[in-house]
Symmetry: C2
Subunit: 679 residues, 2 copies
């Protein structure tokens, strides 16, 4: 929590700015005053008790900059109390992660002095975000100055302002020094090393750190497969058709891969304190609107959403739309096959270098179209899910009601992308049974989509960003001359950066790569090599885009990769079936059963069942959480239940104590009291 900058040296209320709040430049003065008062007000009066200050940009010739930009900070004490509100888990003296409380802050490890440096930057910003989000309307009926922006008791002020366009955005500020240090250790070093996951977590929060952890783990896991794949491919080690061994290796690999990841992820999440922290206990997302209700778990009054009605509407509208999209996918696939046939016929008529290259053109075009369609589908799915509810952000929903919606969105997106990417491959493999075309199609798809992804994800935004940076820089120089006002410039720059939309797209990309490798790499052993190469550059481009292309995102606490674990596991089951079917199609296996195809099929099916059973037994036998962490979690739970018992007891003791202190005091301290207390 150390930022090099402060709002203004001369200001009495000087503080470290953590979050930027941008209001529309025509916001009415009374609304601004009201909002700032609410933010500054004491907690007991329903305020957020944060520090906030206006940033005044020097007047610029011609171009008018927005005057309504504010920076929000907080005292250390407020942040520590906020850490208790959001339910952060920190390492206790005894090495166990425990819910942080302000009262016994000094018993936590790494808490020295007044607690400077105890909370990471990302945590501080997360706390401020939480406090802003839970700043709720009291008795105001509308926002002052805006009679149409209605409020009711309990409504989140910030979200209402945001949905009505009064609040343009709010985002955490980068910390230039930390960022420099992080980016050096992360991707600027030439030395090959692990990613600094703990530093990433400190700077960006657990959600992103877990993504990069997964990316690294996945890449390392692919190395053995890539090493086996290279000789297979380069030296024609064996006939391509003899891929049975490779398929079996594939199966075992994909199962062990996912099981081990669960344990890794639990270890990460435990160390980061998110494993013990239960999502259900968090405050409801500030964005929910609808009537005020009663959260049955925490017993707090909070807005609830009538979910069943909304779900019904989503399903009714979405199902036809999804079917339409799937039809489109199949149509494009058929066009691709036509193009492919046409290219082959041209090549056959006149085989030379030009027409040889032409053979690859349909696949490349198809790959590009698939990427574009994936993108469109993603927006369509998001639109469908958010339809009419612009205030609810997906993928960060921690509430009961919204899990179903998230799963639904996920399912739609998953379906689109899965069908889009794999339909043609399945068709080629099992209907056309053309292994050569399968290999070629797979290679083209993989390479094209990788190149496109890297360009779209990092380089294009970076290039746009640089142009914008230069413009801002020049403008600032022109206005201010030699005056050094780095904070103003930084805020100006970051305000115009793009917003990072969460890890969904990144995971989706890895998921599709996992699909290519686990489903078809026995046919095209080089797939694993390509994916490894892709992921190495992916680490760099993703790291770069997080540090320099996008606005810093708010930290998202994450205990695991969520639905993606399920998605990867589903894929690995599909992989068992696909690999077994590919084995059944291989001429190598067919040669063993020259007379009876039926017998061959039965044996392949039997093997498949054994493999699936083996997979489930393996998943059952390997514990999801390593034993030492299980013990620690159980200890926490034991302590909690004991505490619950004791607490009511203590409360009773305290009551009787105050009435008959001399009789009961020895129960509390194992020694008799000397004086009596009367309150």
């Amino acid at each position: 929590m150390q930022l090099g900058l402060s709002v203004s040296d001369s200001d009495v209320s000087s503080f470290t700015p953590l979050v930027v709040l941008e209001l529309a430049d025509d916001t009415k003065a009374e609304a601004i005053t009201w909002l700032l008062n609410r933010i500054r007000d004491k907690q007991k009066n329903g305020g957020a008790e944060l520090l906030v200050d206006q940033l005044l940009f020097p007047a610029q010739d011609g171009q008018k900059s927005n005057p309504n930009v504010f920076v929000v900070g907080s005292t250390l004490q407020r942040l520590l109390k906020g850490a208790e509100d959001v339910g952060l888990f920190k390492e206790f003296q005894d090495g166990i992660m425990r819910g942080f409380t302000y009262a016994n802050r000094e018993s936590f490890k790494d808490f020295y002095g007044d607690g400077e440096g105890f909370l990471s930057d990302a945590e501080c910003q997360y706390i401020i975000k939480h406090e802003l989000d839970t700043l709720r309307a009291k008795n105001e009926e509308h926002v002052p100055g805006y009679p149409k922006v209605k409020l009711y008791p309990g409504k989140s002020v910030v979200r209402r302002l945001q949905s009505k366009g009064v609040l343009v955005q709010y985002f955490p500020l980068h910390n230039k020094e930390d960022l420099k240090r992080l980016s050096f250790s992360w991707y600027k070093k030439i030395k090959l090393s692990f990613q600094p996951l703990d530093d990433i977590r400190h700077y960006f929060g657990e959600g992103l750190a877990l993504y990069f952890g997964f990316l690294e783990y996945f890449t390392f896991a692919l190395v053995p497969m890539a090493l086996i794949g290279i000789p297979y491919y380069l030296f024609d080690w064996e006939d391509y058709d003899k891929y049975v061994l490779f398929a079996v290796f594939n199966l075992v690999w994909s199962t062990v891969f996912l099981e081990v990841w669960k344990r890794c992820s639990a270890t990460f999440a435990y160390g980061w304190g998110t494993l013990s922290r239960k999502k259900a206990f968090e405050e409801p997302r500030a964005g929910f609107h609808g009537a005020l209700g009663f959260n049955p778990i925490t017993g707090r009054e909070e807005p609830v959403y009538p979910s069943s009605k909304r779900q019904l509407r989503i399903y009714l509208v979405s199902v036809p739309f999804v079917l339409l999209c799937l039809y489109l996918s199949f149509y494009v696939m058929m066009v691709y096959f036509d193009m492919e046939n046409w290219a082959i016929s041209v090549y056959n008529e006149n085989p030379n270098f030009g027409t040889g290259i032409l053979l690859f053109v349909p696949s490349i075009i198809y790959a590009v179209v698939i990427e574009i369609m994936n993108l469109l589908y993603r927006y369509a799915a998001e639109f469908l899910t958010n339809w009419g509810e612009p205030e609810i952000l997906l993928f960060s929903c921690s509430s009961f009601n919204n899990i179903l919606i998230t799963v639904f969105f996920f399912f739609v997106c998953f379906q689109f992308n899965f069908v889009n990417c794999f339909a043609s491959l399945f068709y080629i493999a099992f209907v056309m049974q053309d292994m050569v075309l399968l290999r070629q199609s797979l290679a083209t798809l993989l390479i094209t989509s990788q190149i496109l992804n890297q360009v779209m994800e990092a380089f294009l935004p970076y290039w746009l960003q640089r142009r914008r940076n230069k413009k801002v820089h020049k403008r600032m120089r022109r206005v201010m001359g030699d005056k050094e006002l780095p904070l103003l410039e930084q805020v100006q720059l970051e305000t115009e950066m793009n917003t990072y939309l969460g890890t969904f797209d990144d995971y989706l990309e890895q998921f599709l790569l996992f699909g290519y490798v686990s489903l078809f790499s026995c046919v095209y052993p080089l797939a694993a090599v390509l994916v490894v190469l892709n992921n190495i550059t992916e680490v760099y481009s993703d790291a770069f885009k997080m540090c320099h292309v996008f606005k810093r995102p708010f930290s998202e606490p994450a205990a695991n990769i969520g639905v993606w674990q399920l998605a990867f596991e589903t894929m690995s089951i599909i992989a068992v079936v696909t690999n077994c079917a590919l084995i059944g199609l291989s001429s190598q296996v067919k040669a063993y059963f020259p007379e009876s195809e039926t017998q061959m099929i039965l044996i392949v099916v039997a093997i498949e069942h054994v493999l699936l059973a083996f997979k489930f037994i393996l998943a059952f036998v390997i514990p999801d959480v390593p034993k030492d962490i299980q013990v620690k979690l159980a200890k926490l739970e034991f302590d909690s239940l004991e505490a619950l018992k004791k607490r009511v007891s203590t409360h009773l003791y305290m009551c009787t104590y105050l009435q008959h202190a001399n009789r009961k005091c020895d129960h509390l301290y194992d020694r008799p009291c000397q004086k009596v207390l009367h309150c």
Copy 2:
């Protein structure tokens, strides 16, 4: 907790006897004195603080009865404190199940006055058992009078005495009045009604109540299948071969059956307070010996067992033995087929009524042999698992280490019984493909094993018991003449009753019946009818045997049916595969694909995969715990974590409070203090 009897009216320490303790009749006096003192001693001195009294039987002519029989009871206060020790969950004022604490006992529902009737009989006896089991040696090096019966600090006294034969047995006493009431509402009524599960739970504890709940649920679930099966069978509704529809129904049924049961079981267990109560937090089983260790969860010092060494030994010795047993099973099966063939040939030579009956003889003999082998295997498996560790009782192990052992035992038993019962049926169905023989074999197996089971389980023990009872009764009458000493007679009678060995055998029987129904009922639709009939009599015979044949067992807290859930689910997966295969074999399906067997197989395999996928999705979508109970559990957990935070805070407050009471007091009570306390 109201028993009609008391030890002796004239005695000063008159109390309600709950548990009987029988020492060997040659036990040395000093050991008895020592043990009784330890049991009576205050808890703070390491005693159990229970009431105990010797039962003095009048001298009998000729036959000498054991003078060392004791009854154990307790004061109500001690029982309530014990309820806190064992971690009982009871319904709180707010309708949520919470860990019972003595301090706030009055805030629990159904707690009136001094708490009379708050704890059920079974709970009281469970608490006494727990207190006896956790009566640990202090500094004694051996049991007084027995220099060879070594003790070390922390060793359970009762278990050591039991393993050395000094303590013959200890068991809970029946409560004649309650038993009469229970048995009337349970099985003596003619009226058809649900079982009184809550009463059963009150009297026998959660483990048994859950078994009877499952038995009832299973029977009801079978009714629709039986209703469909009867017309199929009786009126030859359709050709037997047209069992495809029935097989599909089977699949859906078995999946839904298990999913719904999970919810039922959670509902039961929540209401009984066992769902929230975590096994891992219980005290370690008193029976563990080995060095003293440190339980990482509760932080208590307790004996631990070097489990890995033991596991290795078990596996090394067991695997060859298991293989041998399986070989034996197959050998017997082959002998059965030979007999079957012989019977058929005899019948074919001379078909008349006598030889017609002969056709069934091999199946009947085989069924009887299977039952005997099941019994032998069960003992073998228990022996293997317990080998060298006679002190450890299975199926009630709640500790970390022993779960693996239990699973192992279970697995061995499961394997034995599964192979034993189903091997021949699978062989007939898929190798011989003889549906007529399958039907006949299935019917004979089912009926024979049902009859055998009922006789072996209830009627034979009852007959033996009655003979014994009469003898005891006559003896008592002879000795005491007209003096009414019902307690003495009751103890005498119950001491000689057989011990109930737990629900394992009962569940195993249901599991095998479930197997017959779900695997093969499409071939023999009457199977469900037979199982329903069996289960109706089973309820009565099981209820009867619990009430009148066996000693009353100690209650076992159970939150679910444990490994059996997994076993039933595994069986239902096997059922999908088997039913699909049976569909593939049906002439009805074969007729659709007259030219291509390959195509037919591929389609059946595809359908099977879809069904399996459907099954997993269904299991994933249906929550295991009903939503209202989920909410209550989450609330408990939330409260616990909050309490843990507050507790340390309160503790800190209390400390500072005592130092600077006038400054801090307002934090505690929201109002300033008036006087200062110094301890």
